[in-house]
Symmetry: C2
Subunit: 307 residues, 2 copies
Amino acid sequence: MLVVMARIKERIGVVGTGRMGANMARRLKDCGVTVAAVFDARARVARRLAAELGGGCEAPRKLARVTALSDIVLTVVSDDAAMEGIFARNGDSLLCGADGRLFINCATVSAEVHQRVELRVTGVGASVLEACMASSIPQARDGSLYLMCGGTQAAYQRARPLLRLLGKTVRHIGGTGDAARLKLIVNMIMIANTAALAEGLALSEAAGLDLTMAREVFAETGAASRVLVTDGEDMQRREHDCYFSAEHAAKDVGLAVRMARKARLKLPVAVAAQRQYERMKRAGLGDLDKSGVSELTFCGRSKGLPR
Amino acid sequence: MLVVMARIKERIGVVGTGRMGANMARRLKDCGVTVAAVFDARARVARRLAAELGGGCEAPRKLARVTALSDIVLTVVSDDAAMEGIFARNGDSLLCGADGRLFINCATVSAEVHQRVELRVTGVGASVLEACMASSIPQARDGSLYLMCGGTQAAYQRARPLLRLLGKTVRHIGGTGDAARLKLIVNMIMIANTAALAEGLALSEAAGLDLTMAREVFAETGAASRVLVTDGEDMQRREHDCYFSAEHAAKDVGLAVRMARKARLKLPVAVAAQRQYERMKRAGLGDLDKSGVSELTFCGRSKGLPR
C-alpha cells in the first residue's frame, strides 16, 4: 500500500462510516491527515471507528458537531434520503455553522440531490463538490479510488490535494450532478455486462463446456470485459462475498433507468438487468455481491427462488 | 501483414466466398498455399475471386468438382440451411467422391448442424473439423483470426498447419459442436455488451456529457469492455460500416437463446439484446454493423423507425 504523507492541515470529518467511508477514513489517517470526527446513523459503528483511528477523533452524536470539528467533510451515505437528511435545512444538520466549510459528497446519489444539496450548502456560505467513486472497498482502503468530480473549479481545486490521497485517478467531469450521472451510467453498463456474463457462463455450463476454458476464450474475444476479470471466476465458484452488493446494483441501475425515462430513452437491456437484480432482492440475495446474479442464471442454482 | 510461406502441399477449396471466405482464400494464397477451387452460391462472385487469385484456381459450377479439386475444403457459408445444402446427401454436394478429404467448417452454424454434417462426412470416409471464428474481416485477411475448433484430435492435428496460417490463436475446444456452442456464447455476451454500451452512450448524450470523455471514463472503470474499444467511437460518430452485421448479431444471439431454452435457462438480458437487433432488422438496418444498435437508443436517431 502506497502511503503518501500529506501536508494537509485541514481537519477532516467523515459522515457515513460503512465499508467505503470507514476505509477512506483509515486511508486518510494512514496518510497523516487529521480525521477529527466520524459520524454514522449507527452510533456504535462510528464510535468503534473513532476509537480505532485514535488521535483525538470524535464520534459526536450531532452532525453540527462534525461541522464544528472539521474544515472539510467527506460524506459517504447510503442513499438520497440519507443525503437529504444530513443536509437538512432544519434541526441537526451538517449545515449548522458551516460557513467556509467544504463538503465532498462521495455517495452514489441522484444528480438532483447533489444539485439540491449544492443550493443549500452555498446558501450557508460553504462550498461543495461531488466526488463519485467508481471503485470498491479495497481501493478505498489503499487510496486507489477512481474519483469523478462535479462542481465548480474552485471547489475542485480546494478538494484535489485531499482527493489525491484517496484516488489514483481524480477527474473533473463537469458541473454539480454530472459526475453522479456519469457514475450511474458507468454502473448501468457494468451491471448489464455482469448480468450478461452470468448468462453466458450459465449457458456454457449447460452446454457441458469447461468454465475455466470458456472464461479464457471470453477474455481473448469480443466477450472480454472488466467484469469478466472481476466477477467471472466468482460466478463459476459461487463466491459472492460482497464488494458491490446486488441491492446496490439494483438501486444504481434503477436510478439510471429513471434518468433515461425522463429523457424519453428506451434502454431495454438495462431494464432487463435491473429486473434480475430486483429479483435477487426479492429472493433475499440482495446482500450478495453483484456476481451473485449467476445464482439466478445457472441451471439448478435458482431452485425455489421467487420469480 | 505477416506472410508465412507455408509448406502445405494440400490443395485447398473454399466454399462460401463472402467477406470472410474470400479474405481467407486471399490470405492462403499470400502464404503460398494452392487454392484450387472457390465456390459461392452467387457464381459471379466466385468467378471473380478465382480470377483474382489466379494460379489455376477454378470456380466450378458444381460442388462435387470442388471436392475433386481439393484435399481440404474450407466452408464459410451463411447459415444452417446453406450448410445442410453443401453437404446434402443427394444431388450435387461436397460429399460426392469425398473419401479422404478433410472439411473444415468455419461458418457460424448451429452445433446440431455441425454434428449432422459430421455424421454424413464420416459416412463417406472423409473427416471434418469445425473451426469457428471469433474475429472479423480484417483478421481473415491478415491471418489473425481467433479459431475455436471442435472435433477429433486426428482432424484437429491434420487441420492445424493450415489453420495456423489463418489464425493467431487456434484452440481445440472439444468435440464437434462444442466450438459452435462456445462461439455463440461469445457472440451472445458480445452482443449484449454492445447493446448495453449503446444504451450507456445514449444516456450520456442525453445527460449532456461529452461522449469522448464518457468513453475514456468507461475504459478506466467497470464499464470497460472489448466492444467499447471496437464499437464505442463508431456509435458516437454514427459510423456503422459493416464488420459484424446487425442481422448476424440477431441470428447468433437468437441461436444462443434457443440453446438456452432447450436447457431450460432464462437469459433475460440476452433476450433484450436479441429484441434490439430484431428491431434493427425490421427497421431495415440489418446491414449496419452491430454498432448500429446505437441508432435505436440515441435520442432523435430512431425517429420514424418501427417499434
